[in-house]
């Protein structure tokens, strides 16, 4: 039966069909939907882990226990998981182990752009790249097979346009795969130097054997067309090349892109007049072709950053611009993403802006706090960086004779991912930073996944809720305050107190994400037009439910309003009233 699936959904389906019994991940765009779609399968144990390193470690453990295991993460997640990855490459597997890396050319929802194909030769593990949803599903099966036959983790590398594009996928029944027996084997699994040196040699031999396998792997294939142009390509770039060149070129469609099939590549190169590599991001294939001594055109013609499109190929190869009909009569204002109406981060940023201190930001919806009118965030680096950067900023300032307070903002899910060790550092090294935890009771940015602080697992089971206040107190923070994010005055007082406190300080601003289901009805804010002086103080909260009109009047879109009443608290003349809803819960 054919199903219409995204690449992520297809990978989840592949885990089901090819007998996986274990899966783990930390959510991250564009990989999140893989585990989201595995969680409902009763045949597969799946979990949200606190971060990607832990997710990979639990998957390595599951593989040792004999289970076919899959772990999924976005490109930067592989950086977090790199430590176990590079040594799992030595230990190899028991049950098949597949690591999905979802890369994001064009940084639709990421802090950087990186080409994780480089991890395959770097960690010395094989890599497969699907070019549509059907292949995404099929290659999960191939990856498990290769993993078990060659005793290696396998990298399944996708990009946003594979992860989030949908196509028709032929689906089959699940094949049950027997869980392998675990045998204690220190020489293979204990990577102390004496053992690791032997496995190092094994890894080299494994790569040689995999190179031979790559030559005959059915998904690496030549598609002969016009031989005046030959295109070596993989992943989504293959689809764009087919779209643009059709039968007017020949293709070497590579699917196992590490190790590469050198003989097949030479055969293809000899069969065509002019050879090109069409690949997004780094000249990964191109450099290998050049190292083989084969002349090829790649990055001298095509960019080494951002996504490709068919238009881009037409423009670069043929100098043809798209036949489009743009609007020139008016300027089209941009529509950037914004913090939602009722977002509990908004009042906290509103207060932080007033205190005029450096604010180290982190990864999540609250990254949007950098935009006008709030403009409250100074930095965004990586998961958990806010805490370490706050400590470093504060310490270096004090050390160099400019003592000042520094604030770090971090979400609840991000705190569990990468914030806790930073807090330990701040306490250990006599730091004096202020950490504001934006505790909205979920992982909001990626679509509301539970985390260790929510009291519920990905499978929907009830579990112990780890309280952030307990964690930071246990880590030695003495000044811990908990406030309701919607209460502007309380947030202001707590921040003021923390800024005056000599020592590490934590303010937990707690209020559920306004988009979570099942929240109490807080009513709506309504502007009394007779009292309103049109001073626009409310607009400085940046709430998208507030609508300003050409006559300078302001109204509130009641469909959008979530009743946080932050606008009502900033109105200097009390012109905003609350209608309906219960007491603030």
């Amino acid at each position: 039966m054919k199903k219409f699936l995204s690449g992520d959904e297809a990978i989840a389906r592949g885990a089901f069909e090819y007998g996986a019994t274990f899966a783990a991940a930390y959510p991250g765009t564009p990989s999140t939907e893989i585990i989201e779609n595995i969680l409902p399968y009763k045949e597969i144990y799946a979990e949200w882990s606190p971060n990607e390193k832990v997710a990979l470690e639990v998957a390595i453990g599951a593989s040792l226990a004999g289970a076919r295991s899959l772990v999924a993460m976005k490109h930067v997640g592989v950086n977090v998981a790199a430590d176990p990855l590079f040594t799992a490459a030595y230990t190899g597997v028991n049950g098949g182990l597949v690591i999905v890396s979802a890369d994001e050319p064009s940084l639709h929802s990421s802090q950087n752009e990186q080409d994780n194909r480089n991890f395959a030769p770097f960690a010395k593990i094989p890599m497969l790249e699907p070019s549509d949803s059907q292949e995404a599903k099929d290659l999960v099966g191939e990856a498990f097979r290769i993993s078990e036959e060659y005793d290696t983790p396998v990298l399944l590398r996708i990009t946003t346009r594979i992860a989030h594009a949908k196509g028709l996928v032929e689906c089959y029944e699940r094949q049950e795969v027997e869980v392998k027996e675990y045998k204690k084997n220190a020489a293979k699994y204990c990577m102390v130097p004496a053992n690791a040196r032997k496995r190092r040699v094994f890894v080299e031999e494994r790569t040689r054997l995999l190179s031979e396998f790559s030559e005959t792997f059915l998904y690496n294939r030549i598609e002969w067309g016009d031989k005046s142009i030959g295109i070596i390509t993989s992943g989504i770039s293959y689809q764009y090349a087919r779209e643009v060149f059709g039968a007017k070129a020949s293709y070497l469609k590579l699917t196992m892109t590490w190790p590469l099939p050198e003989k097949l590549m030479r055969e293809f190169a000899e069969g065509v007049e002019k050879l090109y590599v069409v690949e997004e991001l780094d000249p990964f294939l191109e450099n290998q072709v050049k190292a083989m001594g084969i002349p090829v055109i790649g990055k001298e013609l095509l960019p080494n950053m951002f996504e490709f499109t068919p238009e881009l190929l037409r423009q670069k190869f043929f100098g043809v611009d798209p036949a489009s009909n743009p609007v020139t009569e008016v300027e089209i204002p941009p529509r950037p993403p914004v913090l939602c109406a009722g977002c509990p981060h908004r009042p906290v940023f509103y207060i932080l802006k007033k205190h005029r201190v450096p604010v180290m930001g982190d990864i999540g919806c609250y990254g949007l706090g950098l935009q006008p009118p709030l403009e409250a965030v100074d930095t965004t680096v990586c998961m958990g960086a806010s805490v370490g950067m706050t400590h470093g900023f504060q310490k270096a300032s004090a050390w160099n004779g400019v003592p000042r307070k520094v604030v770090g903002v971090i979400g609840d899910s991000t705190f569990f991912h990468g914030g806790m060790t930073g807090v330990a550092d701040m306490v250990f090294n006599n730091g004096s930073g202020v950490i504001v935890v934006l505790d909205n009771r979920t992982t909001a940015m990626t679509g509301h996944q539970p985390h260790p602080g929510t009291g519920i697992t990905g499978k929907g089971e009830v579990t112990d809720e780890i309280k952030i206040e307990d964690v930071v107190r246990a880590l030695g923070v003495r000044d811990v305050q908990i406030v309701d994010s919607y209460d502007l005055q309380a947030v202001d007082q707590a921040v003021r107190h923390a800024l005056d406190f000599d020592g590490p300080s934590v303010v937990i601003c707690r209020r559920a994400c306004a988009l979570l289901k099942g929240l109490p009805d807080l009513g709506k804010a309504v502007i009394n037009q007779e009292q309103c002086t049109r001073c626009h103080a409310c607009l400085r909260t940046g709430c998208p439910a507030l609508v300003s009109h050409p006559d300078k009047s302001v109204t509130i879109d009641t469909n959008a309003c979530n009743g946080c009443f932050v606008c009502g608290q900033v109105c200097p003349v009390g012109a905003i009233e609350k209608v309906g809803g219960g007491e603030r819960g």
Binding site: K2, F4, T29, P30, E33, H108, S109, D132, T160, R161, H164, A165, K166, G167, L168, I236, Q239, Y240, R242, E243, G246, T309, P310, E311, R314, P322, A323, S324, N325, P326, V327, E329, V330, E331, I332, P333, P334, R335, P336, P337, V338, L339, C340, C365, L368, Q371, P372, P373, M445, T446, G447, L539, G542, P544, L546, V547, S548, N559
Partner: protein
């Protein structure tokens, strides 16, 4: 090459373009076409500009629609209709919801909203269909949130696919 038809669904994060796209793709699959769809999830959902590309025919390679090649654009909001107009082919059709959602820069007074969007579109689009979807959704379904399905109805009229197929797919993908 066999003909591939290109459709864009454009709007603002939260308007239900993703569900509408799912229905459209389901209908096309039912009709026996090869279908591909592409959209980007993540930051764009937070009230940002969103686009879904749908392509169908005998065999579809790229999931992306190229500029100047869309046969149909279904715009859930007028400013977004202007933004994505460069994707429409010269003889293409645009269905636009008569709705204004002001983006953050306009709310902050840093940019102005093109209130004459429909006039501009009328001068550039061969077949322009304006729909008051919010009003229709309120009147016929008693719920403004069904705007996305109302808009699909306007698109359906122009696609030559049996109404029964639409009904079947909508029943299967939309909770009653």
């Amino acid at each position: 090459m066999a003909k591939v038809t290109n459709v864009l669904l454009v709007g603002v994060g939260g308007q239900g373009t993703i569900l509408a796209t799912k229905v459209l793709a389901g209908v096309l699959q039912d009709e026996g076409y090869d279908v591909k769809m592409s959209e980007v999830h993540g930051m764009s959902q937070r009230g940002g500009s969103v686009v879904s590309f749908v392509r169908y025919g005998d065999r579809v390679y790229s999931p992306l629609v190229e500029q100047g090649t869309a046969d149909l654009i279904l715009a859930f909001e007028k400013l977004e209709a202007l933004r994505w107009l460069p994707y429409l082919k010269a003889e293409g059709t645009m269905v636009v919801n008569d709705l204004e959602i002001l983006p953050a820069p306009v709310l902050l007074g840093k940019a102005s909203y093109p209130y004459n969007a429909l006039e501009i579109l009328a001068g550039k689009v061969r077949e322009l269909v304006t729909v008051k979807a919010a009003q229709l959704a309120e009147e016929k379904a008693g719920n403004a949130r069904t705007q996305n399905i109302v808009l699909l109805g306007a698109l359906a009229k122009r696609m030559g696919i049996a109404p029964g197929t639409w009904e079947r797919v909508i029943r299967a993908s939309v909770p009653p």
